[in-house]
């Protein structure tokens, strides 16, 4: 259906109006209306789970399982949200705030690391000539495809020997050493940048590092933003890493903390759903504002074999 309207349009815009013009336009119109209907219905289906979380988070415990489902609670229980701050405390502070703080620290530090390392390695792979460069690029691709689970146990033991267990370090430090997908993304982007500016800077006597910081980095802002968003989301959502490395609940991130709420208040769904809403909301806001970046970032990836 999509292709019909795309392909037909250029013909319609022509100066001459053949006799079938009106019916073709009518057909396109009808097609659009039909598409709207289909998208609204399927889109609503996709939204149901999220709407349900928010609705439940505002209900009183005895309203959760009433049928038919109340999509808009008659008396919204905003208290579910405020009680999350008082219900669960860690060392006298609201657990939720502790989790949020931990998550922000881990996700931000890891995001900065990912941007830094992918820019550095990506630049070197895209522009600098050195022996074994294509071999290293091949390795980066291979590591991207290597299942993380293989290194799960040895990494745990290494971090244990370093005395890093129950700290944020195992969650942050690896990202400063680069990760395959982001290096790949950055390299693809940098390969496409015009080389003239760099050459001009080199003629002016600037070294590689200086060129990277002064010329390349400012030009790479879109790619850096994409890498940053994806990396931040990845660490925000990560569950297995924190589960393995973090012990004391004062170090828990939101992903683990939500699990704690669920364990403690498993029978009090509104509370669990309020906690889920709190975890989902920032992601939705972030996506709303960075939407264009998302789609463009994927095109930057240059999957079409550039």
């Amino acid at each position: 259906m999509a292709q019909v309207s795309r392909g037909a349009e250029p013909l319609l815009r022509g100066g001459a109006q053949p006799s079938w013009w009106r019916s073709a336009r009518l057909k396109a119109r009808l097609g659009h209306v039909l598409l709207h209907v289909v998208l609204i219905v399927t889109g609503f289906t996709f939204l149901v789970p999220l709407l349900w979380v928010v609705a439940t988070s505002l209900k009183a415990p005895n309203q959760v399982f009433t049928y038919p489902i109340q999509w808009i609670p008659r008396e919204p229980q905003w208290v579910n949200y405020s009680s999350m701050l008082t219900l669960l405390e860690i060392a006298g502070r609201p657990a939720l705030l502790v989790f949020v703080k931990n998550t922000v620290i881990v996700a931000t530090a890891a995001m900065l690391g990912t941007i830094f390392s992918s820019l550095l390695v990506g630049y070197s792979l895209a522009r600098l000539r050195w022996p074994g460069r294509s071999l290293v690029f091949g390795l980066v691709l291979a590591v991207m495809m290597l299942p993380g689970v293989v290194t799960l146990v040895p990494l745990f033991l290494i971090f244990r020997d370093l005395g890093w267990l129950d700290t944020f370090l195992p969650l942050i430090v690896p990202s400063w050493f680069g990760s395959g997908f982001f290096i790949f993304l950055m390299r693809q982007f940098l390969t496409g940048l015009p080389i003239e500016l760099e050459e001009a800077a080199r003629v002016d006597g600037a070294g590689s590092l200086r060129i990277l910081l002064r010329v390349v980095a400012p030009l790479s802002k879109p790619a850096m933003a994409t890498v940053g968003i994806f990396s931040f989301l990845g660490h925000y959502n990560e569950f297995m890493g924190p589960l393995i490395y973090l012990d004391s609940n004062s170090n828990y991130t939101l992903a683990l903390g939500l699990r704690m709420f669920q364990g403690r208040y498993g029978d009090r769904w509104p509370i669990v759903m309020a906690a889920s809403t709190i975890m989902i909301a920032p992601v939705i806001v972030l996506f709303f504002f960075a939407q264009k970046q998302f789609i463009r970032g994927i095109q930057l990836g240059g999957l079409a074999g550039r």
Binding site: Q3, P49, V272, V283, Q299
Partner: protein, 265 residues
Amino acid sequence: MAYSIVLVFQDWDLLTPARFVGLANLERLRLDPKVLVSLWNTAYLTFVGVPLQLLLALALALALNVKLRGIAGYRTVFYLPSITPAVASAVVWLQILHPEFGILNNFLEQFGISRVNWLFDTRAAKPALIFMSLWGVGGAMVIFLAGLQGIPEELYEAAVLDGAGWWSKFIRVTMPLLSPFLFFQMIMGVINGFQANFTTTYIMTGGGPQDATLVTVLYIYRNGFEYFKMGYAASLAWMLFWIIMFFTLIQFLFANRWVYYEVGQ
């Protein structure tokens, strides 16, 4: 990684010093019935789930690749679930699939379909997880969308002039130019399918009922971090690694038969 290989030949519970046990871990791997069960579950979720996910993602991308009022809004709606944190969506789906109070059963009942014990029935648990995974196809959809938008308009115009209809445009223009994206998604889908499902199975089913959703990664986690059999966990991980490599290589081998790259790019 080298460390990981060394571990395969050791028995280590972290408390007492590691002991060299030679091939004992591999022998145990061969005899452990749960290994086969977990591999079967993983393969089921991957080879049934990934094709369904890709089909749905492609269909959505085609439907959303139009100039239409409010198209950005629709794209957002379909993309949102895929960026919902896995922990949060696991909690949500626990509730939706709830045998007594869940929305899904209530919905099905309207059509006279009797209640299904989704996560507690050995036959329904894996389909339920796949159904749930379809909710998150937004990520794949966006990649297809990026691919579709990269197809030059002229090609469609030329095809129309040659008298091509919707179907032949799709088969002769869209699919060849989209094939690198499809290939990438298949590779990543299989790799992720084999590795993922950890968070969902860990939180939602704990591998149950009766190991019906015990995926290999969950079993590796259990051995390493619950039973503290580090050597055995490393052996299992290596087994999984070779299996993933095998399927990835097979896909690469067949790739040049159907994946089309533009010349000169």
